[in-house]
């Protein structure tokens, strides 16, 4: 039995230390694992821990499988399905713009059709792990746009499964259009089959792996996952999808919580090996030749993300801060881009894809947290008309937690089209506001008498809405914020 334990241990330790150094500066871990692989790999001058990186293949593959399995297990199916059409529209816009621009870039590079699809996925799908960590570190969990950001990245994860199902047949190198269509058909058919198992067969799967003892559950679970991943690869669907889908199945069994907890440390270790192994396959000398395309790709990604942020903000009535936060928080690229790069390299595509995606992920890893932390700067430059044609008073308002007084809304419509108190005293008014607790109509702050303000001072009824045609905003006096519906609510 021959195994390079010294090399493996030193490599993982070095990767961990480098990532910890990055964390000091609040940088994401995944790119640093990869960087450790690049620096200590056989293509870089200096120490080489592994003469034959392919010795790591099995462990790295296990990392890939566990990474996607965990994604499937923790996927919040109910929350996503219940989140409403607008969130899907926002996520669809994000994915469409980013994948579309990625495809354009991929074809413009002229490396080939399969290569273009890989590049589209790698630059189009953001890293959920990086975005979630950023929201926690930037203390934005209480912000109004945060549920939207999280909703979008979760829907993106779902899209990843579909994209992998499309990509694997393309990468398999079918000879004719008919054969390609057949392979795509098989791929999606397999996806449907696994969905059906998730829907109706979860109880059975749960019985197979269930055990009261954590030790046995972990062993049975890993066995099942690896087996399904292997079978999926055998059918011509990628092992990655198999692992993701079996994760969705396990998520519907009674062992979900325990499975999630048990697989997490395994995933962390083996996924790190996967990222390191990918790094080791990168030839540093080749990075210079892809630098220009990578810089263009980074520029495009920033642009498409901000655009998608603006679309989301328009759909949900967020202000400049919200738009900038949405666009710049989902900028990070990580695990998924590296997975796609690995798929491309193992399918024997253009070798420049490796260094291209490696450099791209590294640059965004540093850029994304910096831009997200300074989203305020971008917000200053976003003109009002991009967000809402008719909205005024928007830019100055803070956008914070969803208003906590919405249970005080009892009435939303009125026939009154005058300010009754002004009519009585013979005054005029500029605009009308309506109290949503009792339905009283009063005049706005630009009017002489400011009856709406006075009504709040008298009664404490917190929420008004504008009766101006096309305005459609609501304001809470108590919170001092414009009100936006929380994502997923059915209030319209």
């Amino acid at each position: 039995m021959h195994a390079n334990l010294i090399g493996l241990g030193a490599l993982i330790l070095a990767a961990g230390l480098l990532a910890r150094l990055g964390r000091r500066f609040r940088l994401p871990t995944v790119p640093f694992f990869m960087l450790a692989g690049i620096l200590l790999g056989p293509f870089t001058p200096g120490p080489t821990l592994f003469e034959h990186p392919e010795d790591l293949d099995m462990l790295a593959l296990l990392g890939l499988v566990l990474l996607l399995f965990h994604l499937g297990v923790e996927f919040p199916v109910e929350q996503v399905l219940g989140s409403g059409k607008r969130l899907f529209a926002a996520a669809g816009a994000y994915i469409g713009i980013n994948i579309g621009a990625g495809l354009g870039l991929g074809f413009a590079l002229g490396w080939g059709t399969s290569e273009a699809f890989v590049i589209a996925g790698a630059v189009g799908i953001s890293s959920s792990a990086i975005a979630t960590k950023l929201l926690i570190e930037l203390r934005r969990l209480a912000n109004a746009e945060t549920p939207l950001i999280l909703g979008i990245i979760v829907i993106e994860d779902l899209f990843l499964a579909l994209y992998l199902a499309l990509l694997t047949p393309i990468l398999s190198g079918a000879d004719s259009a008919g054969e390609l269509a057949l392979r795509i058909g098989i791929s999606f058919g397999y996806l449907v089959l696994l969905f059906a198992i998730a829907r109706w067969g979860a109880r059975l799967i749960g019985k197979v792996i269930d055990s009261n003892e954590d030790e046995l559950l972990a062993v049975l679970m890993v066995g099942l996952v690896v087996l399904v991943a292997g079978l999926s690869a055998e059918v011509g669907v990628s092992d990655a999808i198999g692992a993701l889908m079996i994760g969705l199945v396990v998520a519907r069994t009674s062992v979900k919580e325990r499975a999630e907890r048990l697989v997490l440390p395994l995933r962390d270790v083996f996924a790190a090996i996967f990222f390191v192994a990918f790094g080791m396959s990168i030839d540093v000398g080749a990075i210079g030749s892809v630098a220009v395309p990578v810089l263009i790709a980074v520029g495009i990604t920033v642009l498409t993300n901000v655009t998608a942020g603006l679309i989301t903000a328009r759909l949900f009535g967020l202000n400049q801060r919200g738009a900038a936060n949405v666009g710049l928080t989902v900028l990070g690229r990580g695990e998924f881009s590296l997975i796609l790069a690995t798929l491309a390299l193992s399918a024997g595509l253009d070798e420049r894809i490796g260094p291209f995606i490696a450099l791209y992920v590294l640059i965004l890893a540093v850029l994304a947290p910096i831009l997200a932390a300074n989203s305020r700067m971008l917000a200053r430059f976003l003109p009002d008309r991009l967000l809402h044609d008719r909205w005024r008073y928007v830019r100055e308002e803070t956008i914070s937690t969803a208003c906590t007084h919405m249970d005080r809304i009892h009435i939303t419509e009125t026939d009154t089209d005058v300010c009754p108190q002004c009519v009585e005293s013979g005054d005029t008014w500029v605009q009308l506001r309506m109290c949503l607790t009792c339905g009283e109509v009063g005049c706005c702050n630009d009017s002489v008498n400011k009856h709406a303000d006075a009504h709040f001072a008298d009664t404490g009824h917190p929420i008004i809405r504008s009766l101006q045609d096309g305005d459609g905003w609501e304001y809470c006096y108590a919170d001092g914020t414009l009100i936006r519906e929380p994502a997923g609510s059915n209030r319209s």
Binding site: Q79, L150, V154, T401, D407, G480
Partner: protein, 75 residues
């Protein structure tokens, strides 16, 4: 219960509870994340920048919660 507490699902993270504390924009938001941690956001004004943010483990959150609820006793 329920009145004045706004509940918001955060997909992939957990659940957020926004609690208004009278006028002037004072409020707290508590995010119960699925890994058991609790993020406590305190706002003293109606702005969007929290005055304080604490990250509590499950154990710490239980201790703080017990004291707040008046059910904490030493042995």
């Amino acid at each position: 219960m329920g009145k004045g507490v706004h509940i918001q699902e955060l997909p992939g993270v957990g659940t957020r509870y926004d609690i208004a504390l009278g006028s002037g924009g004072q409020r707290v938001s508590i995010v119960a994340s699925r890994d058991g941690k609790r993020h406590l956001y305190v706002f003293e004004t109606s702005g969007d920048d929290p005055t304080a943010v604490l990250e509590l483990t499950e154990e710490q959150a239980r201790k703080v919660g017990a004291v707040l609820a008046g059910t904490f006793f030493t042995d």
